[in-house]
Symmetry: C2
Subunit: 340 residues, 2 copies
């Protein structure tokens, strides 16, 4: 691992001259330039970016902290982030918290030490503790997908209340009245907001919400499975299920299949977050899809704005539109269907 002074020695110049050649700054005679370049090539010299950062106080690196790297919704976000970051010469460090507050805190600490310039964060929960350090240091942060009750960070997400409202409204229009909702942790805004959208739709329809049909747990397949089992045990049984995300939906579907119920004849199911079209032979889930790539891209733009010292003083809250796609997993409830 040769350094700049190795090169300087070999080329018979000062380190400054090498630096100027490497960074194309200042005036260099053609002849010395060539000599230096030859020395660089011969030694396989690669500049040490760390040393450079130590002076510049800018690492050109941002961190993307996700809660689940195996969820295609989040990897698509990552794609958007990567593209936007690279456009401006930034690198991205991806981190995975597994929805754990502890891991999030650890990563935040680590990344702070590593002097990343800014954070893109899908918060594992709405606890202030973990991000207090960020606020204290005034590091630029943009929130993705989820709200935080401290209102001082830029954020990019979809309107979960509205999306949930549309899904449940769709079910109501089909004639359902007993609709269960299976949601994530109460500490996560999307879980709360999606239940709020459900409640709004139910109240508007004059039905109101049945506390026994509202479930909170976590955004995993296993939890979806268990919540669905409990929902199906309710009496009378719900005729439709609203799963607050795709993984919960998969678990619920498994439970429905085990109960020997047909979708949508016996029970309808709708959810947030599609799978990428191409991975599914025959898309059948009625969903609200969110523009994941754009969420990542837009959030990165906001962050890089801040890093460039641009952007307004006040915090920005960007809401991207979500889209309802009606497919085969939702139909009229059994009793209504019978009447047809």
């Amino acid at each position: 691992m040769s350094t700049i002074s190795d090169v300087a020695k070999r080329a018979g110049v000062s380190t400054m001259t090498v630096s100027r050649v490497v960074n194309n700054s200042g005036y260099i005679s053609q002849e010395t330039r060539e000599r230096v370049e030859r020395a660089i090539a011969e030694l396989g010299y690669v500049p040490n970016a760390l040393a450079r950062y130590l002076r510049f106080k800018q690492t050109k690196t941002i961190a993307l902290i996700l809660t689940d790297i195996t969820n295609p919704f989040f990897t698509t976000i990552a794609r958007g982030v990567e593209d936007a970051a690279r456009d401006q010469g930034f690198s991205v460090i991806f981190c995975n918290t597994d929805e754990s507050e502890t891991e999030q805190t650890e990563y935040l600490q680590l990344l702070l030490q590593r002097q990343v310039d800014g954070f893109l964060l899908v918060p594992a929960s709405d606890s202030d503790e973990s991000i207090a350090a960020l606020r204290a240091r005034g590091v630029p942060v943009v929130l993705l997908d989820r709200r935080l009750s401290v209102g001082e960070f830029d954020s990019v997400r979809c309107d979960s209340v509205q999306g949930a409202y549309e899904l449940v409204h769709h079910l109501l229009a089909l004639g359902h009245t007993r609709i269960a909702v299976l949601s994530g942790s109460k500490a996560v805004s999307t879980a709360v907001d999606r239940v709020a959208g459900y409640t709004r739709a139910m109240c508007e329809a004059g039905i109101g919400e049945d506390q026994h049909l509202v479930f909170y747990d976590r955004f995993t397949q296993g939890d979806g499975y268990r919540m669905a089992q409990r929902a199906l045990a309710a009496s009378p049984r719900p005729t439709a299920i609203f799963a607050a995300n795709n993984f919960i939906a998969f678990g619920a579907i498994r439970a429905i299949q085990e109960a020997d119920l047909r979708i949508p004849e016996d029970i309808s199911i709708v959810t947030f977050d599609d799978l990428p079209q191409l991975w599914v032979m025959d898309p059948f889930l009625t969903v609200v899809t969110q523009p994941a790539y754009e969420i990542g891209h837009k959030a990165t733009e906001l962050l890089l704005d801040r890093l460039a010292g641009e952007g307004p003083v006040e915090t920005r809250e960007i809401m991207l539109p979500a889209e309802l796609i009606v497919r085969k997993s939702s139909g009229p409830p059994p009793t209504v269907a019978t009447k047809l």
Copy 2:
């Protein structure tokens, strides 16, 4: 952004003392320790890891360079890498090359400058150019999933020849004789090896390979679609398709559906790489699955071994077992089925 000397000043000690408190090294009187800790808390001091690395020549960071971050096979690998790395206090920088040699070269260069300690690489192609710099510098590298003709790197992967052989053998046993193979780029070892496995099985069966039924393109859904269209246009039409990975298979299935053919009645299809069980309502593809998580985990262990100066001098080549799972997408060829 306070520094170690800010803390030192505030606590009325030298920077060395602060350093000792932060790193828990050497002897410190209880009283000074408390004073320093108070100063740290008051200033919100966070040590600058970069400055530290500048001395240590070790960043405790490894790079994971993938070709497609949206493919669940690779994100599962990423999971394994992350877990193994964290166990030993290493961070991971994920990068995505999109199967592009150019992007790979750029990333390699960037990461070298950033002084990452080692590389986990899924090579975009078997070109020497891009990795020449790695070899020249002697940075530890472990190859994942794919071979490289330069044999000096450790590697972890599954046996693609064997896996392909088993899939094609399975089709032959069902009675197929006209089997098309849709593979990835000839510059990628898995693409080549899977065709080799196909050829071996076909030759063993005394059929030999029909050059018109062997297709190379890239590992994407679009290419799978186009290759399948050409395969289906062959006359007589193949009764089975072996897709060299999941994305190619999805494209092929779309083409098959558009041609109004039924799977497996009219045509069978088998492939490498499953989708995670939980994402699929009703798994129907006959596949060879690879232990992606273990590939990532094992590769990371090899790399960290090297970094610790352990491990043998010779290069290690780890082959993990792949598993054939027969499901509904493969059945006897039409003529045979008719006879039943």
